[in-house]
């Protein structure tokens, strides 16, 4: 009778926890913009938590600590928007106004390449991709312009929602987790607690390490391009930093716009080589210094698993899927290891 009651309660609690996780997951995935807002909120949470922890250490409550950190951040973001956005906007406007030029230039390059390939093949096979590139470019740019209002509204929603979620994650996260832990059945409680702690540490460390890595790569590209006097150095550095978040494939994506700009502008081979060198140096610093000493120590995953995870991530969630694939796989690895250990001893 006793065992039956305990077992019944354990099943009910386990099912309750699974239902809560499922509903939260479903809502995040189904409601538009919520997934990206949550990912960004997690990133903000892991970036700002150390500051709130520090204030807590000095005697502030978690809530007041969070309010202080968010107020300071809002102040600096406000100053940035007021003073720097007009400048960055001009930079971006100049680039956008030149997009058609770079589009046409890329198509012209494709035609040259096509002619060269056909000449080389001497009629054995006819290469023809410039026409489809031309129509694709037109299609993509038309689609982008048509959907611009919805893109802007989505961006504003994400930018408003993510700090809002992040604030509650930092201020109330511990309390919410404690309340959720009450639902976990007694026999799984210690395992769940350890797992939650390990995941929190690993994901937090991973996000901080990846952002540091992206920041350093972006900074090197920016300085390098400024030194060689290449146009749009800041914009290209931001692209390099963001694409660097995609493991292995990101650096190759980052270099494409720079090389295309160089080719369309009719840069000499030496200049193109210098642009490639800047990106190469940034990747060398990343691979030799940052990855082995910062990232690899945090996520202990085999390179093969990383590649498979990125491909699967791209399949399920595009670029966002590629970026979050590694932390998701490391969470799955930790969870399966804990469950395996638990059943090994029971």
């Amino acid at each position: 009778m006793f065992i039956d009651n305990v077992k019944k309660e354990r099943y009910i609690r386990t099912i309750a926890v699974l239902i809560i996780i499922f509903i939260c997951g479903a809502v995040i995935f189904i409601v538009e913009n919520l997934l990206i807002s949550f990912i960004l909120a997690f990133v903000i949470n892991y970036l700002l938590s150390p500051f709130v922890d520090n204030l807590e250490r000095r005697g502030f409550t978690r809530l007041y600590g969070s309010i202080i950190v968010f107020s300071v951040l809002t102040f600096f973001v406000g100053i940035y928007l007021y003073y720097f956005i007009p400048n960055s906007g001009k930079h971006l406007d100049a680039f956008i106004s030149e997009i058609p030029k770079y589009g046409k230039g890329t198509i012209a390059l494709a035609k040259e390449l096509e002619a060269f390939a056909n000449n080389l093949l001497n009629g054995a096979y006819t290469v023809n991709f410039s026409e489809s590139l031309d129509s694709n470019f037109l299609e993509i740019s038309t689609e982008f312009m048509d959907n611009l209002p919805s893109h802007i509204s989505a961006a504003i929603t994400i930018l408003l929602l993510s700090p809002f979620f992040a604030f509650f994650m930092i201020a109330e996260g511990r309390f919410i987790m404690q309340k959720l832990m009450i639902l976990v059945p007694n026999n799984l409680f210690e395992m769940a607690l350890t797992l939650q702690y390990q995941i929190n540490n690993q994901v937090g460390g991973f996000i901080r390490a990846r952002l540091l890595e992206a920041g350093i790569v972006g900074f090197i590209v920016w300085i390098g391009l400024l030194i060689i006097g290449f146009p749009y150095a800041l914009l290209l550095a931001v692209i390099a930093a963001l694409t660097n978040l995609i493991p292995y494939i990101g650096p190759f994506i980052a270099i494409i716009p720079a090389v295309l700009i160089a080719l369309v502008n009719g840069s000499t081979s030496m200049e193109i080589l210098m642009v490639i060198s800047v990106y190469f140096i940034s990747q060398m610093v990343d691979v030799v210094f940052i990855v082995p000493f910062v990232v690899a120590k945090i996520v202990d995953l085999h390179a093969g698993i990383v590649v498979v995870a990125i491909i699967a991530g791209a399949q399920f969630g595009g670029i966002i899927g590629m970026i979050i694939s590694i932390p998701v796989v490391s969470i799955l690895k930790l969870t399966s290891k804990e469950i395996y250990d638990y059943y090994l001893h029971h």
């Binding site: 006793f2 404690q178 832990m181 009450i182 026999n187 210690e190 607690l193 001893h345």
Partner: protein
């Protein structure tokens, strides 16, 4: 005729319920903490309830932390396997305000040396390794006070074990002489 055994105002006096902070403040490990620090600690501990005979943890499970008994009692049981049969021996029954499992707060993947089972319907306050790590990171002052007390408990345990060993040795040598 009504016989009054106690002052009538006692009926109206608010009877203060024992809170988690009260229990924590009485515990040996947390006796150095100020009331403000106890509040911080209170925010990270976990309250769990167990029905009579429910297992809290089993011998050889990986230990994660300690428990303080806030209500009820807990049997600490040694499990021995003989001829594929499990024999259970109750080593001690712990009561309200007692604590157990504190060794696992500092052991790396240490195994539980005995099974803990609720003697009656029991409420426990759990303080675990992740909580200790968090509090050390968040508030090193509290972390030092707790680990200092923990060291004292472990030192006492070591002294007791040494004394017991010396006694056993003495008994063995006196038997040999006899």
């Amino acid at each position: 005729m009504i016989i009054i055994n106690e002052p009538i105002w006692n009926k109206f006096r608010k009877i203060r319920k024992k809170t988690t902070i009260d229990i924590l403040s009485k515990n040996y490990l947390f006796q150095d903490l100020t009331s403000k620090e106890l509040k911080i600690l209170n925010a990270i501990v976990h309250e769990r309830t167990y029905v009579k005979d429910e297992v809290i943890f089993r011998q050889n499970d990986t230990g994660v932390g300690m428990y303080i008994i806030s209500k009820g009692a807990v049997d600490i049981i040694a499990e021995n396997y003989e001829d594929r049969k499990m024999e259970e021996t109750i080593i001690v029954t712990l009561n309200e305000d007692d604590f157990f499992g504190e060794l696992s707060l500092i052991e790396e993947n240490g195994k539980r040396s005995a099974t803990a089972k609720a003697t009656f319907d029991t409420s426990l306050i759990g303080f675990f390794k992740p909580n200790l790590m968090e509090i050390m990171k968040m508030n090193p002052g509290i972390g030092v006070k707790i680990t200092w007390r923990l060291c004292q408990v472990l030192g006492q345990r070591l002294k007791d074990t040494t004394d017991n060993l010396a006694n056993v040795k003495q008994q063995l040598s006196s038997q040999e002489v006899g």
